[in-house]
Amino acid sequence: MHVLLLLVQTKSKKTLARPGVKNIVLVEGVRTPFLLSGTTYANLMPHDLARAALQGLLNKTSLPKDAVDYIIYGIVIQEVKTSNVAREAALGAGFSDKIPAHTVTMACISSNQAMTSAVGLIAAGQCDAVVAGGAEFMSDVPIRHSRKMRKTMLALNRAKTLGQKLSLIGSIRMSHLSPELPAVAEFSTAETMGHSADRLAAAFGVSRLEQDEFALRSHTLAKKAQDDGLLEDVITFKVPGRDIVSKDNGIRPSSMEQMAKLKPAFVKPHGTVTAANSSFLTDGASAVLIMSEEKALAMGYKPKAYLRDFVYVSQDPKDQLLLGPTYSTPKVLERAGLSMSDIDVFEFHEAFAGQIMANLKAMDSDWFGQTYMGRKAKVGTPPMDKFNLWGGSLSLGHPFGATGCRLVTTVAHRLKKEGGQYGLVAACAAGGQGHAMVIEAYPQ
């Protein structure tokens, strides 16, 4: 009966509201400008960026500082001093110290996880209003002493006599001093993501040309969106000790000829993934305000969109590391009772141009659908005239922990701008995981 009801609703395309299920809305979404790491944000700390995003959200919504019940933040590379970056940022942003906050991590879908955790808290009746967000700061990463050195240093702490201390110091060798960089590789396979993306692109026969074309498209569309003032989620941020920033600085439409000159970055010399067709290391933070519909209306807000069904998927972290969208898209559509053609706005996370193209090819392949997804036929591909029309991670930048909120906010803004009804967010993440969410326009 439930299914029947859904079908009826699908045909009418009015709403995905279900009896007995709370309507949960996106009230507002903001982000700091996304900057190439090592640029204007270089001297900050991760929680500074998160704080800026939170303050931006407070400013934009005029939200009373004690009006939310909970704060959740996503981050990938953790600064050890601020391991619960959500709490540090919330305190610094002036939120009431009575609001609990926690940090989540799920690679590139960390802030998606923050948002869906918020949705879960509201749906379960635990909270009415939650701030979710994400931050990433690649200008500084924790570099550790080697394990041997750490062991010696810890033992030194416990050493009581001078003799013990001296003998420990004497045991230090040159090799102990070589530092340990944070792993840019998948722990389970020891393969870097760029390398895996190159293999994925090769597996699906994605050419260098296709990748460069897609990257160029992303930059061109982002530039246009920026110039047209469509990126209204970007807040202005006075960086302590530096200038005011109000624009993403990684958008650089180039020419195909120039892009063709670049050498492969990971698989040398015959690879296809280059610096120009990959997302770049980015600093940035985002934040969204999520509420139950009643609460939002009661507080006098005009919600931007409904957050509807979402799914998480995971698969082989070696050979299908970045295929999350292929798996999550049909799954979330099925949950929502929608088909690909019902979706008006697609926002996919662009980790690499090759990864997007590989996903599109996988979704377009009957063989892949049948062999690896247990489907009768292919998933089908999103039409490109609805796909990432305001640029994507390749051009806007990709602060790992912050991208999810950008995607969702962008869908809401695009639905409004383009007059669509349903939007779909999909993303891949390290560990072979993936996510998708259906977003419904809020009645105008």
């Binding site: 090769a202 597996a203 050979d319």
Partner: protein, 760 residues
């Protein structure tokens, strides 16, 4: 049976190395006929030459392949539209697995084989001098003649797949790389590496090959895309190889890499003749030490390399082809090839596929054997319960499994993630929880029939009716164990050899009551564990232990007669046993040897007499249980390489001193006393139907007990040595020692009629 240590080269022989295609015909196809093995297409200006033997899973260099390849090459050289070529296989997991052994075995004289070698040399010389660059694109095994082909090409690209291995395993078949390998390899990878490759025959993984300079470039294997991972990886390799071929023609990709500082230094050092001579001498010494001069191939390899380097290529190639011809005619080579064929045969399940696959295996007893069995099972993805009775025993066993896998991680053959994921299949426990879901139980508890009966009953009380009960006993008859069973059709013997992860053999023992499906299931499990399997009939000591027991008592007698353990060891190793008899007993465990000698002595009576078992018993009483207790015939101290004879055994032996009869006590006599008792017992096992055939007998003896591989096993040894000659020797010993040396009837039959052979 516990403890027979590694078997040297043979332990590394693995099936897929050589392809032996029995259905091959040797007729040369007329040139007009369509080609079946080699084809090519021209992509832009690159000719993609594909090899695909239609009659086999692997490519081999056969006469047909060679002829077609020559034809194709001639066409390419004549075709102006072709500027370069890519050589690639259409078979997943195999470039070229080697030369066709049957092609060599079909020859009846050294001259014929020499001619084969010269034809191969000629073809690869043309390839080497090709005016159009040829890129070998390697995915899967590239061995023997396949490697020789690849190194004749101008450029080599290999996939980083686990299946991609390069090597020259000819030495393991008593041969040498006979198509230019001994000449090209030293130039390519330097003398030390070339000797290492050719003398050990070991497989080299792609990443190592790149470091050594054996391949120029690596390509990562791909995952699923629009085709299966295997197919897409092959296509990708081809695409990359085409790019490189074009790059070489355009001079964008250099054929020679600039030499590093180390390489320059090494080249400089190698330019001195006395340095090279020192290397030849060292390598020769090592080979003599390890092979005792029993294997001619390694010495010939050194000779060929030396001739090539010192006297130039003409002399080198000539030496290679002539020595190749000579080696192919040696008894050692046919023995090793026989073992290879036997090994392939013993990797098949002649009992068909079992009704139910074993998905959960339980092992009782977490000792050395139990944990070893667990280790080779968990890494095949089978859920494994390891049960012991004490926490300490269980902890030791689980640690053994962990250590075994962690060592592989250290050697980088698996990642730490793979190790953890493999270990998640292991469940250590002290009770019978979850046994209702177990498909097979292998018990590795103490060798005592009462304990075996007790665990059998406990197990049968908790498992489901389809569950198989296998005993890892080394000597107790399976029917005696099955006597306590409600379901004797489900009871079988699975006799593993220690260390389980190193020893390839599994001896499966069936009783009259064991069902065929039970046997099929046990063989299937063994094959999954990577074992070479012989299936034998039931009886005291089955096959392997029964052959070993008389050798052990004879060895004790030799010691009682005044030989010291070192002398005994040198007599046995110089005969070709990888491990000396005294060392072997220490490895097996003196206490285990006592058990075996007494049990089998009871079962077979005076035929199993000889040395006094009390010698061993006294040793056990004094705590000399062999390596595991630190003392046996030798003293074992951790970290010490040279082992000393246990000084305290002199006195024991003195108490049991026997007088040696000079008529049967020369070194050679002692060797034949040991070997003839082994061989006679093996033939008796065949005569009594314990053995299914001589082939399994040879495989069991070599892979389980270390019978000299150069002799090919007891049966092949009889065929080549002559049954009559051995019987004559035995009768001479019989006159002194009695029925322990009485040749069995089947052996007498073979002695009487020299046309009778165990192997055809």
């Amino acid at each position: 049976m516990a403890g027979v240590r590694a078997l040297g080269v043979l332990s590394r022989l693995s099936t897929r190395r050589y392809a032996a295609n029995t259905s091959r015909t040797f007729s040369v196809a007329p040139a007009m006929l369509a080609r079946t093995h080699v084809s090519y297409e021209v992509k832009d200006d690159v000719a993609v030459v594909r090899m695909n033997d239609p009659n086999s899973k692997v490519n081999t260099i056969s006469i047909q392949m060679q002829n077609e390849m020559t034809e194709v090459m001639n066409e390419l050289w004549a075709n102006d539209a072709v500027k370069s070529a890519v050589l690639i296989s259409s078979k997943p997991g195999c470039f070229i697995a080697g030369a066709d052994i049957n092609m060599i075995q079909a020859c009846s004289s050294a001259e014929e084989v020499t001619k084969l070698s010269q034809e191969g040399q000629k073809m690869f010389e043309l390839v080497e001098k090709s005016p159009k660059p040829i890129v070998a694109a390697i995915n899967g095994s590239c061995l023997g003649g396949g490697l020789e082909f690849a190194i004749a090409c101008q450029y080599r690209i290999a996939t980083k797949s686990k299946k991609t291995v390069l090597g020259t395993p000819e030495v393991m078949l008593g041969l040498l790389p006979g198509a230019g390998g001994t000449q090209r390899l030293p130039k390519m990878v330097g003398l030390p590496n070339a000797f290492d490759m050719m003398l050990t025959g070991r497989n080299i993984r792609a990443d190592k090959a790149k470091k050594m300079g054996l391949v120029h470039h690596l390509v990562d294997p791909l995952g699923p895309g629009l085709k299966s991972p295997e197919q897409r990886t092959m296509d990708y390799l081809e695409e990359v190889a085409i790019q490189f071929a074009k790059g070489i023609v355009d001079k964008k990709i250099p054929l020679q890499k600039d030499k590093g500082m180390m390489q320059k230094i090494q080249d400089y050092v190698m330019s001195f003749e006395f340095v090279r001579n020192q290397i030849y001498k060292t390598v020769h010494g090592k080979v003599m030490k390890q092979s005792k001069g029993l294997y001619p191939a390694p010495l010939k390899i050194i000779e060929c390399v030396k001739t090539g380097v010192e006297q130039g290529p003409t002399a080198g190639y000539l030496a290679e082809s002539q020595n190749f011809g000579q080696l192919a005619m040696t008894a050692e080579s046919s023995a090793l090839i026989g073992l290879y064929h036997g090994q392939v045969a013993c990797k098949k399940n002649r009992f068909g596929s079992p009704a139910k696959e074993v998905k959960t295996l339980a092992i009782l007893g977490a000792g050395l054997m139990g944990a070893g069995i667990a280790q080779v099972t968990v890494d095949k993805g089978v859920r494994t319960i390891l049960k012991d009775t004490t926490v300490q025993g269980l902890a030791r066993g689980e640690e053994q499994v962990y250590k075994g896998l962690n060592d592989k991680t250290k050697k980088k053959s698996i990642t730490s993630f793979e190790r953890d994921s493999i270990l998640s299949n292991l469940c250590g426990q002290l009770d019978y929880k979850g046994f209702e879901k177990v498909d097979m139980v292998i018990e590795a508890v103490f060798e005592d029939i009462k304990i075996k009966h007790a665990v059998l009953k406990e197990v049968e009380a908790v498992v489901s009716p389809h569950c198989i009960f296998a005993s890892n006993t080394s000597a107790l008859p399976i029917k005696d164990i099955a006597a306590a069973s409600k379901r004797p059709d489900k009871v079988i013997g699975m006799h593993y050899f220690s260390p389980v992860d190193k020893m390839q053999l599994l001896e499966i023992i069936t009783t009259d009551q064991t069902s065929k499906d039970t046997t099929a299931s046990a063989v299937a499990v063994g094959l999954k564990q990577g074992k070479v399997i012989i299936v034998v009939g039931d009886g005291p000591g089955f096959y392997t232990t029964r052959c070993l027991a008389p050798v052990l008592v004879e060895a004790v007698r030799v010691l009682q007669e005044g030989a010291d353990p070192k002398k005994l060891d040198s007599l046995t190793t110089s005969f070709g046993f990888p491990v000396g008899a005294a060392t072997l007993v220490d490895e097996v465990g003196i206490d285990v040897a006592v058990h075996v000698a007494e049990d089998l002595g009871k079962a077979f009576g005076s035929r199993f007499g000889g040395g006094n078992v009390d010698v061993l018993k006294t040793m056990v009483e004094l705590g000399f249980k062999g390596r595991k207790s630190g003392k046996g015939w030798y003293v074992y101290e951790p970290g010490r390489k040279i082992k000393e004879v246990n000084p305290e055994i002199g006195e024991i032996l003195e108490n049991y001193r026997m007088k040696a009869n000079p008529a049967v006590s020369s070194d050679s006599d002692v060797q034949y006393r040991l070997i003839s008792r082994f061989v006679n017992e093996a033939v008796l096992c065949l005569q009594e139907g314990i053995l299914n055939g001589p082939l399994e007998g040879d495989i069991g003896a070599v892979f389980g007990l270390g019978f000299p591989p150069c002799l090919g096993g007891p049966f092949r040894f009889l065929d080549s040595f002559g049954a009559d000659k051995l019987v004559a020797k035995m009768q001479q010993f019989e006159a002194v020692y009695g029925n322990q040396f009485s040749p069995c009837q089947l052996l007498l039959d073979h002695a009487k009629d020299s046309s009778k052979k165990f192997h055809k």
